[in-house]
Amino acid sequence: MTQLENRVAELRRERDLTQEELADALEVSRQTISSIENGRYNPSLELAFRIAGFFGLAIEEIFIFEEGEGE
């Protein structure tokens, strides 16, 4: 079982941004940001890079890939 977690909500709050403002900056819908933050939707690699670029961090500092044990 693998899981992709992310720190988008945490980083957004640190910068005192609303979901709407972040969505506007990344040119995606607010629902997309909400879904990414809640882990319901994994962004494409392109959007992940844009998010990383926006926060000035590396992708792996925002998106954390956790590999579980066995099947």
Binding site: V28, S29, Q31, P43
Partner: protein, 135 residues
Amino acid sequence: MNQKRARDIAGFVLGLVLVLIGIALWEKRAGGVLMGLGAGLMGMCAAQLYLGWVVSKDPKLAKQLRIEEQDERAVYINNFAKAKAFDFLHFLVPPFLLILSLARVPLWIVLLGVSVYVVDWVVYFVFHVKKSREI
């Protein structure tokens, strides 16, 4: 954007021409069909032209519409729904064709249904192969 506007204007004019031909052929069956098609085309293109005009006056709305259209989650949801609809259609069509054939409808209607079904699968395989070669 200008190309889209030109296409909508051309569509509107074509719709108008169809309506006029429809009026000229009013007495015949084709007249009503042409009027219906023309009016539909005119309405669709007029709506697109009006939307384009409204959007050109409001850059914020233009950005919002662009985001809604290109948003990757929205595109994903739309494609997922279309894929499910395709699966459902292909689950639904064979029994429907069987019912048609059992109901002794004219053979050409059954064959038309079968050909639509086959064409749909051909389109699926064409795009499957094309995309497989691309990526």
